[in-house]
């Protein structure tokens, strides 16, 4: 088995799922460890709201199986290509438009079966929502970009597909759009996504039909011309905003942050707490802006894959990251440097 050999010789490996998100994160060297062929749903009981599947399972296929039973991955993960696998999705820890209202990828990861950098098999978490036995390694591994372990199998909590969803919009400048959203959220409107694109406030409502209907009428919005497709186009970064080669930044800021007017073009997702920014300014500018607002900035696409893509950590936290890396992968052979240099 390839990983064990790599461990024995201390050779670096680069974990590869479907390759759909290879643009994301820093460049890593090493021999490719292909896990994409390790596929299949291991167990799925809709009434448990849990699916267990191998890391190489195609995300599209998995979503289809869930949809057949009226369920879904509620964090609405982006695919970024037909090859997307469940393992890659969890390793990157990315969440789509539904995130602020339903939860993030890590919120739905209940258990992980993986190999650490010593080639040892670990099962963390399990298939139940409530589980506090041992530290929560499953969530630690989620979003760790393969630097702590090779994901083999995942148990994921799933949720029912809402009875009804509608896509609506109205013209609104960003500051006004943020205000409107605040009011609607506070009144418990059944929002499941909200984007401010400069011209329009775009929202998706989800829930039981009677409720969605009555709220849609009450809010007095127009039907979105692109319908629900708008949200998958957004999730997959296929809206015109994302076209072209210019660097794409992601700024995450606390909910409730007033409009920032960052340099360049911007699109506010997650009800105003995730900014997508197209800009050629130096990283320093956006990092400072994010920090001022208690957030962080990631160079999501189009950066120098050997540079700093993720927000630099304060030194004490960086040292802790380094010790955590060593706790899983002392030889530092797994996806070395994918997140931070050396890690």
């Amino acid at each position: 088995m390839q990983l064990r050999e790599a461990c024995a010789s201390g050779r670096a490996v680069r974990i590869e799922g479907g390759g759909s998100k290879s643009f994301y994160g820093r460049q890593t060297r090493g021999e490719a460890l292909r896990v994409g062929s390790y596929q299949g749903i291991v167990s799925y009981r809709p009434e448990e709201l849990v699916v267990v599947a191998r890391a190489g399972t195609s995300l599209a296929e998995l979503e289809q199986v869930l949809a057949d039973k009226g369920q879904m991955l509620a964090f609405e993960p982006p695919h970024f290509g037909p090859g997307a696998t469940l393992g890659g999705t969890v390793a990157c820890g990315l969440s789509g438009p539904r995130r602020p209202y339903a939860g993030a990828c890590r919120d739905f990861v209940l258990g992980v079966h993986c190999l650490n950098g010593r080639g040892e098999e670990l099962r963390c978490g399990g298939q139940v929502l409530k589980n506090v036995a041992g530290y929560d390694l499953s969530r630690l591994l989620t979003g760790s970009l393969g630097t702590l372990g090779v994901l083999l199998e995942l148990s994921i909590r799933v949720l029912p597909v809402p009875e009804m969803e509608v896509s609506l919009r109205r013209p609104a400048r960003p500051p006004q759009a943020l205000e409107l959203l605040r009011t609607w959220e506070a009144r418990g409107a059944p929002l499941s996504a909200a984007v401010i694109d400069g011209e329009y406030l775009n929202v998706r409502l989800s829930g039981v039909a009677r409720l969605v209907d009555s709220v849609a009428t009450r809010l007095g919005l127009e039907r979105h011309p692109d319908g629900l497709r708008y949200w998958s186009e957004l999730r997959e970064q296929r809206l015109p905003f994302f076209a072209g080669e210019q660097a794409l930044w992601r700024l995450a800021v606390p909910p409730g942050t007033p409009f920032l007017s960052p340099p360049g073009k911007c699109l506010l997702d997650w009800g105003g707490s995730q900014y997508w920014i197209r800009s050629a300014v130096t990283p320093r500018v956006l990092r400072a802006l994010a920090e001022k607002e208690h957030g962080h900035a990631t160079l999501f696409r189009g950066g120098n894959a050997r540079g700093e893509l993720f927000h630099p950590l304060p030194s004490r936290l960086a040292a802790l990251h380094s010790r955590i890396k060593d706790a899983f992968d002392g030889q530092r052979i797994l996806n070395r440097g994918a997140m931070y240099p050396g890690l």
Partner: protein, 493 residues
């Protein structure tokens, strides 16, 4: 030996002297009587006095204590409100018990962002009460909410009756400030929906005081639902009730709460407070639906249909908030009610996959007969989190030992069914042995390695949460692992 003893005595004196320099007099307790209230947490079977108790009321004092403990190589056990049920806050005989009850300020309540920044000693209820006038609430609501602290909730990743819909503590906090074992500050998240680097915020949830001292928490508040109502149903068979639970979830309904009681518990509650529960029923389900008026109505109808199909013998929907509250009151009084049935009871806390509910309850009944100990059940059916209560009398010789044996068998059963040995009460000192049945030696070593990354000298809450490998070896070959076979396909990788 004598030399060792005297050196530890003199080190203890030195510690007290130096603590007195950094803390106000009322914040340092070292007399036996004064320390009594801190000798145990909610798991009263384990008691121990620490070297001293400190009750700082500023973060800077906490830092100074931690720095001193580093210098003098002294162990620190953090304590919130001491309601933990697994001995997590049990003192260390040669250590400092760091009580955080005085760090009880709500630092900021940002209604616009729906965030609150609080100190760790704020009680769960105090936070909810502060949020209520703004139409907001903090979702995790453990039954101990009147007393338990938010810091303790994070350290145990506590849930409550509403976590099926609203999640556990980990799903409801946005940032933490931690003092590490050297007393240095680490900021894990600052309020955005995610953070740069590893998800240490999630890792800290449920870490039982092993990785650092949490000194500030930013929690997410939710708008209070416009409407919420409860439905109460009795069933002639436990199996029917269990299947009804599966049907509700399978039908795509996520109730705010879904609780179950068996006959023993129903009768105990009725005898205690006349909640209006059907005493002849073998099992009772309490289902709460919340949201906007339209959602609640359609949800309640749907659930009632399902319960009828599963042969509910009685069915009642609360007409208003007051009636809902009465229905809940019985559930909330379940523990004290059961407490009257026997001199002592022991509360277990395993989780199983929901579809195994019926089978597991049957097996627990068999075990109860086998050990000749009465077991009553009240639990969070919606998420499969069981709380079998084993009734006993501590005065009878050998009975506690039988209780522990039975408890162990029940937790092993949970693991074998694909569940876990603790759903929400934590491992502490109590579940160190059962941990050996859930985790392999390699996995335990990995958990210890994580602890070491945070606390290389092992000064924070030593001996808790993760059993030493040696202990598991001595217990001998208990590793059950849900009867699953290791991956045959692994060889391909």
């Amino acid at each position: 030996m004598v030399a060792q003893l005297s050196s530890s005595v003199s080190r203890g004196r030195e510690l007290l002297r130096r603590l007195a320099e950094i803390l106000p007099a009322e914040a340092l307790i070292s007399d036996r009587e004064g320390m009594r209230p801190y000798e145990c947490d909610g798991l009263t079977a384990y008691r121990r006095l620490p070297l001293c108790v400190v009750l700082p009321d500023t973060v800077e004092q906490v830092r100074a204590v931690l720095r001193l403990c580093r210098e003098l190589e002294t162990v620190v056990v953090t304590r919130g409100a001491g309601t933990g049920l697994s001995g997590g806050a049990l003192p260390h005989a040669e250590g400092v018990l760091l009580g955080l009850s005085r760090l009880n300020r709500i630092l900021e309540l940002d209604v616009r962002a729906r965030l609150a920044r609080v100190q760790p000693g704020v009680s769960n209820l105090a936070l909810s009460e502060a949020a209520a006038p703004h139409g907001l609430f903090y979702a995790p609501d453990p039954s101990s909410q009147v007393i338990c602290s938010i810091g303790g909730n994070v350290a145990e990743n506590s849930g409550g009756v509403h976590c099926l819909k609203y999640g556990l503590t980990v799903h409801n906090i946005q940032a933490l400030k931690l003092l590490d074992c050297d007393g240095e500050t680490l900021e894990l998240g600052r309020g955005a929906l995610d953070q740069a680097g590893y998800d240490l915020l999630a890792l800290l949830c449920g870490s039982e005081g092993m990785l650092g001292v949490i000194v500030e928490i930013t929690v997410r508040l939710l708008p209070r639902p416009a409407c919420s109502r409860v439905l109460l149903a009795g069933f002639g068979h436990v199996g029917d009730a269990a299947r009804a639970v599966a049907d509700v979830i399978g039908a795509g309904i996520i109730p705010a709460g879904l609780e179950m009681m068996d006959q023993g518990c129903i009768q105990a509650v009725e005898a205690y407070m006349q909640a209006g529960y059907p005493t002849e029923a073998a099992a009772l389900l309490l289902c709460e639906i919340d949201g906007e008026e339209e959602e609640v109505e359609s949800g309640l109808q749907h659930v009632a249909d399902i319960f009828r199909k599963r042969r509910a013998t009685s069915l009642r929907t609360a007409r208003d908030a007051a009636e809902s509250a009465r229905m809940w009151a019985g559930r909330k009084a379940a523990f004290p009610a059961v407490g009257r049935l026997a001199p002592d009871y022991y509360c277990l806390d395993g989780t199983i996959p929901r579809h195994r509910l019926g089978a597991v309850l049957e097996r627990i009944a068999e075990l109860s007969r086998l050990y000749d100990l009465r077991v009553v059940n009240v639990f969070h059916a919606g998420d499969g989190n069981l709380h079998p209560l084993v009734l006993y009398d501590n005065q009878r010789p050998g009975e506690l030992q039988r209780v522990e044996e039975l408890g162990k068998r029940i937790l092993e059963l949970c693991v074998a069914e694909g569940g876990t040995v603790t759903g929400e009460h934590g491992v502490g000192v109590e579940k160190l042995d059962p941990m050996c049945s859930q985790f392999s030696p390699v996995e335990l070593a990995q958990l210890h390695a994580v602890k070491q990354a945070f606390d290389p000298a092992g000064r924070l809450n030593p001996g808790k949460a993760v059993p030493l490998l040696r202990r598991c070896v001595e217990l001998g070959g208990m590793h059950v692992h849900g009867g699953r076979v290791p991956f045959p396909e692994l060889e391909r990788l």
